[in-house]
Subunit: 419 residues, 2 copies
Amino acid sequence: MSYRERLTVDPARIRSHLQSFARIGYQPGGRMARLAFTQDDLRARQLLLHMMSQIGLFTRIDEFGNVFGRLPASGDAASRPPVLIGSHLDTVYDGGRFDGSLGVVAALEAVTLIAENGVELERPVEVVSFACEESSRFGRGTLGSGIVAGAWEPEEIMELQDRDGQRLGKALQRIGLEPEDVGRARRSPGDYAAFLEIHIEQGRVLEESENQVGVVDAIAAPSRFRLTIAGQADHSGATPMNLRRDALTGAAEIILAVERFASDAPDVVGTVGVIQAEPGAINIVPGRVVFTIDIRGTSSDQKRQVVENVMEAIHETARRRDLETSIETLGEEEPVQLDSGLIELLESCCEDRAIPYLRMPSGAGHDAMQMARICPSAMLLVPSRRGISHNPEEWTELEDLVAGVQAYSDATLRLATQS
Amino acid sequence: MSYRERLTVDPARIRSHLQSFARIGYQPGGRMARLAFTQDDLRARQLLLHMMSQIGLFTRIDEFGNVFGRLPASGDAASRPPVLIGSHLDTVYDGGRFDGSLGVVAALEAVTLIAENGVELERPVEVVSFACEESSRFGRGTLGSGIVAGAWEPEEIMELQDRDGQRLGKALQRIGLEPEDVGRARRSPGDYAAFLEIHIEQGRVLEESENQVGVVDAIAAPSRFRLTIAGQADHSGATPMNLRRDALTGAAEIILAVERFASDAPDVVGTVGVIQAEPGAINIVPGRVVFTIDIRGTSSDQKRQVVENVMEAIHETARRRDLETSIETLGEEEPVQLDSGLIELLESCCEDRAIPYLRMPSGAGHDAMQMARICPSAMLLVPSRRGISHNPEEWTELEDLVAGVQAYSDATLRLATQS
């Protein structure tokens, strides 16, 4: 059997669907924002439900607001665990047109091809748009997929607050959902045959290696810290160098240590993205510096070692420079290995279409990271121009989108039709 | 003739005047801020004008907002160049109660003693509070004295901006002064017989050597720069270490180079006091960092060498890390040697009162540094407990304040009465 000729993705439809979503939340000046559970997010889900109906999917919104659309199978196959495909539609404050939306549009494309061609399914295919994947509104991401996969305690999640102090529980009530029912959205191992997601890379690895597709083997998890260094604020002119307790020169040593230790570990990255020096005047030796450390890796062992090395460097610097430090842990997550069978399937789909691909880790977190807790999961990435994401300048060339969605659709078809 | 018995300073009055100023700009939690030309700065000047009137001085506010109060002389003496005494009332963001205020209070004390005792003057005595001595608001210091002494181009100074982007010219307009008239505040060599200033040390040299007074022989001058480093903002998870152009790790190297080169030169200090990283998110590699560099020394040669070394380090780091840098010179001043005649006078005043003193350089810049351009100028310093200044914990013991103000008043009296 080969549906291959008939199941060729339609570039015009992919582009048109992406544009339809990009218009929702669009703001003057080219900016776009669809924060989770805001009116624009709801508009995007409304459009998704409409598109799902057009394809003939059976739609369902679960207790956390995750949107599902099922293409059913017949006979015995109807009751088998479905293949789940999708991503998310919410964005960051200043979002792009691909982060999240591409994964939903690709899932719609795959299921459209299967439906249009009357493919005989061995199991249902379900399209999902997980709610609140971005951490921008409530400070924590992959909430919808984490609820489904049992990663979060619903009671705890309901207490998260946005910038304006609104609780997530309240935001759900405002769209007619009951916070106390959220736990019912949880699914168990065995409920899904597989989860497949496609997403933009948000980095430059594919662009620089000239590949069209990345097959993700592992998703890096961040360990995040907020470090406060206290020294003594002194007059910059009247305080000899040997009498200083400069919090910023101490911080500079630690920033370079984060870079050095992360560079030495092949599968780890380390970043200081936020820094504040106080009192912050040109003629005052900084007495206090606060900065964040974000260390990620696909290898638990390497990440743990880098975190240990950085902590030791912090204490050594503090001792030598007579500084005080306090370290607050903001998050400590484990890397996720994706399913090897699915990785091979995705690679074979790329090979069949002669699509240049690279097996690679994902440095960014995604819904697939949560779904891997309860079913075999895998991910494809497509290039991001200049690595830009979470920004209106986010861009992926149509031919790369098409290559990625094609491999993704082929893999979905194979999973849905193999007995 | 000896006014010495009668011209003994009044410790209670000195303390009371210092407290009156310290209350202006006081904030809950013990902090105090009177940034140049802010409402609290204006309140402090208002109080000064009131105090001057009480003493019977003729007050005047010049075109830059410098506040003068003149004790006139009679007959021929009335038209002779006056002795100018004073300092400043503006503070840094988190200021102390002595930096600046002490010099104004001491000048009021000296002129009060002279007025109360009906001393026959050979020339007028003028008290001054220079505007905007601190660089905290507009990024450059000694503006008021520099305008009077002709150190700054008024047009250029008017364009300086504060944190909120407000131009200095606009700040002047808001208090009723015309930016285009500022040049008229300039005075010429010969307009003043001398300038005397007393200030807290802001370092630990007097405390450690157990002297009550420092007689300043030279003032270290700062070279100040604002450095912008541009790399590329990238997703912290999705960008491998070797593909990064991290502006903050580049900045960290330069911060440590400033410290290292300044430490190697005996008469130089170097400081990075302000740093800003953009976009400033925990999960984004900083694409742009802006920070200040402040290098000071009493030796021109050593300072020049340190500046050269730092510039070379900046270029080397930028080259190696593929970063772009732009360096803005905020100020480039030469160390100032003070007047040897006045230094001897101040030393003799200390000796007459058996006050233990030390001849020493000042690492901090002061208004006297500017006034030395147009008249013989000199300075006294009093100890700062633990060297702390620009901080609410700034402290000088009353007996040291009294010793310093006594020597300062004696010197003022001698200058005002010698023909």
